[in-house]
């Protein structure tokens, strides 16, 4: 076992080397050996995948390399693709080695068949498929649907979180988001990162709902139980990343549409309180303009919500689950009471909001 651990330790170096200028000196033999190592690592992964303790040991050994983002057990499984594609794009690789690489990667007939095809032809085909399926002009998408590209990014993020969650000890919510998560999310522009995190949380929340339904039906499998436990490992880091930084959270809430935030607040109770507080903060910046007869923003340079936006958000919250609706209405009533509990319009933004929201809900109920 120690021998295996020592070999596995070489993985980060191998991957790092493949993307560096070191490959300049590689010839076909070195390349062959590198690809064989990759196959071996995949084999190790497949053998130990179902043995949690051995998996943990291997994962810890890999983490010793301290690469950022950390390389874990699952990388062993993906090694052939990671290595192959990294070498393909590395311009420093000399032609002889490259030709050998192409023949191995694309499985040209004539060579002895590898243990498992890399399915790179499938990758090319799928990429073309994604172009073709996007070509017919898309009609406006209903808000409940997530754009496929965004969803794919979110699914990969969730996948990674799940993998990490299986290996690392759950450090508890006070520990904050893992460092690698912040580093990864920084790769995207802020707005995209928000969308991805929201999509990931939504998918996780919906999945948990569905798992719950299955449990009720009595057909819960072991997988469901494992995923229910794993949910905390997956959603937890994302939520702590969001809530950890006040500015980030406020930017997140202001950027995303009210309906999406309402769904998220419904799935995750940790979000509803801070979100309501944020909305309360926004509301306090509104002043009543008697000449125009409506509430206007008092300090336009700050990032706050307008009256209409605020109303829309509160309405969305009240259209959510009963718990969320109750929480929202209670919060509004409390704020109204703090303002003096007036019924006259124009004196308290909260009284007016409450009236309008209730009006909206009544109309919805009739329809």
């Amino acid at each position: 076992m120690e021998a295996v651990l020592e070999q596995v330790e070489q993985l980060p170096a191998l991957l790092a080397g493949a993307s560096s200028a070191l490959v300049r000196d590689w010839d076909s033999l070195t390349l062959d050996r590198a690809l064989e190592w990759a196959q071996y690592f995949q084999h190790v992964h497949d053998r130990f995948r179902t043995r949690p303790r051995l998996r943990e040991v291997l994962g810890r050994r890999l983490r010793r390399a301290q690469s950022n983002p950390p390389i874990g057990f699952p990388h062993l499984g993906r090694c052939p693709q990671l290595l192959g594609l990294a070498l393909l794009e590395n311009r420093a690789l000399p032609p002889t080695a490259c030709r050998c690489l192409l023949h191995r990667l694309l499985q040209l007939p004539g060579r002895e068949a590898g243990p498992e095809p890399h399915s790179l032809a499938l990758l090319a085909r799928r990429k073309a498929a994604s172009r073709l399926l996007a070509l017919p002009s898309v009609p406006p998408r209903p808000p409940a649907d997530v754009e496929p590209q965004l969803q794919a990014e979110a699914q990969l993020l969730l996948g990674r979180l799940r993998e990490e969650g299986q290996e690392a000890e759950p450090a508890g919510e006070s520990a904050g988001p893992p460092r690698w998560l912040s580093a990864v999310l920084e790769q995207l522009p802020m707005s995209r990162a928000f969308e991805v995190v929201a999509a990931a949380l939504l998918e996780q929340g919906r999945g948990a709902d569905r798992a719950g339904d299955w449990d009720l039906a009595g057909s819960s499998l072991e997988g469901n139980w494992a995923s229910a436990v794993g949910d905390k490992c997956v959603a937890g880091p994302l939520l702590s990343w969001l809530l950890g930084n006040k500015e980030r959270f406020s930017a997140f809430c202001l950027f995303l549409p009210g309906s999406l935030l309402a769904s998220l607040a419904g799935y995750y109770s940790q979000l509803s309180r801070p979100y309501l507080d944020l909305l309360a903060g926004c509301g306090s910046h509104l002043l009543y303009d008697p000449l125009q007869g409506r509430w206007v923003v008092s300090c336009p340079d700050k990032a706050v919500l307008s009256w209409e936006q605020l109303r829309e958000r509160f309405t969305c919250l009240c259209q959510g689950s009963d718990v969320l609706k109750g929480q929202t209405q209670a919060a509004l009533k409390l704020l109204k009471a703090q303002d003096g509990d007036f019924q006259v319009c124009g004196l308290s933004v909260w009284a007016d909001l409450l009236t309008e929201v209730e009006e909206c809900l009544r109309k919805d109920a009739e329809y």
Partner: protein, 472 residues
Amino acid sequence: MAKDIPVPTLNFEYWLDKATEWGQATTLESQKDVCLHLPQLQKFLHEIYETLKHMDSIVAIQQFPLIGQLLGRLCWNPFVIGYDESQKTLMWCLCCLYSSEPQNPVELKANSWIRSLLCHLLSSSKWESNEAETSTFISTLGYTSADYYCHLVKNMVLSLVTELRRDQFNGLNIQGRVSASRVNAVSLFCLPLITLPDLTPLLETLLLYHGGASKEILSSEFLEAVNEAFLKKKISLPETAVFSLWLRHLPSLEKATLYLLDQLVSMQLNSLEEVACVMKDSLLPQAASHPAIFRIVNEIFKNALLETDGTPEVRTIIQVFTQLFLQAHQNENKQHKFPLKAYFPYHHQPLVTALLRRPFELPATRWSAHLKHISDMLKALIECLGQTDLQKIPSCPPVSWKTDTCIHTWFQLSHGDFLLLLSGRKSFLLFPLRLSSLLAASHFLYKLQFSAMSHMLIPEVCQTFLPLERDE
């Protein structure tokens, strides 16, 4: 070292022109044109590869100067890359052109160009400019483009399926209607991807999609291609989807029937069970529970029988088909069954019902009465017809049956033409009603052991049979 192989004439100019044309135009017509040429193009690429693999890369470029342009253009056409195995062959061709020991800047440049094409196809590093952020994100997460596109295609398929299904359920809500042209476009763009397993849910949804229009909205090229892939067993679809395909696209149904006939005739099948097995696999007997499908298939079989002058193979096929069809029909849920009238609209209903009664449904004592009833109906019908060219109507009553009788009934009902054979183990009755001089006379005696399935119903058998033996 290049061997002395005769180089086949590869028509690069034609394909390069085509590729240029496709690259420039984005109209529906040009896209249909691509789809039509995909199989030939794949064959052509394969021929190129077979030629290239024996050649040195420098020699290859000298001999085929247009090859670079052609392969380059094809790599940017998603229809070509998405189709079947074209992407694999294309990449193999590129590999063959890569030189392991470049001697001059031109070769170096060619190498670099090949690598960038491959990187583009495999989205490894130089992801398109609008994907640059995605690519760093994915690779930081520790995944590759393979993982990303795997998820992306599944999501897109799911999104389209949801959109189409939601439209079906909307019913009268006109607002949600997906336009017919959009569905048509989706079906056309799916054409190269039919054999990609990720697409099966979308194929199924499209085949079962019924818009408001009375005309067919799915593109006929798509329907043909799906049928082709299904017949060659390259994809597997649920039965409902296959039946829907055949119901909405007549050429596909005809092709499927002819394909089955071809298969059965060319295979060396030794027993009825084998024939039945192949037939059940084709799903045609099950599909025939739709009367429209039954009538078309029936018609094709009848024509086959006519053209082959009633060879035993075709007769067997028709026999087994009808048997399987009846079996499927009996097994169907009683509520949704079509009445027999739907399958035999031109036939005399009481006679059809009587003939379809199976021996085990009647006690043995009632058999001769049953047969007499049938022959009486036939006689009445003959008299009604009053055809002048009727010949040789035996007027003898059915013979009495021996103990281990087997009943074997063949009849042909076709707008007044019919022929009935009732046979026992050693005796049989013949009622030819209209003899056509074009039909060859043939002798046959078909004996089958009594079993639940021995009651055979063969419509449209156009043959004259002469009695061989009679028994008292």
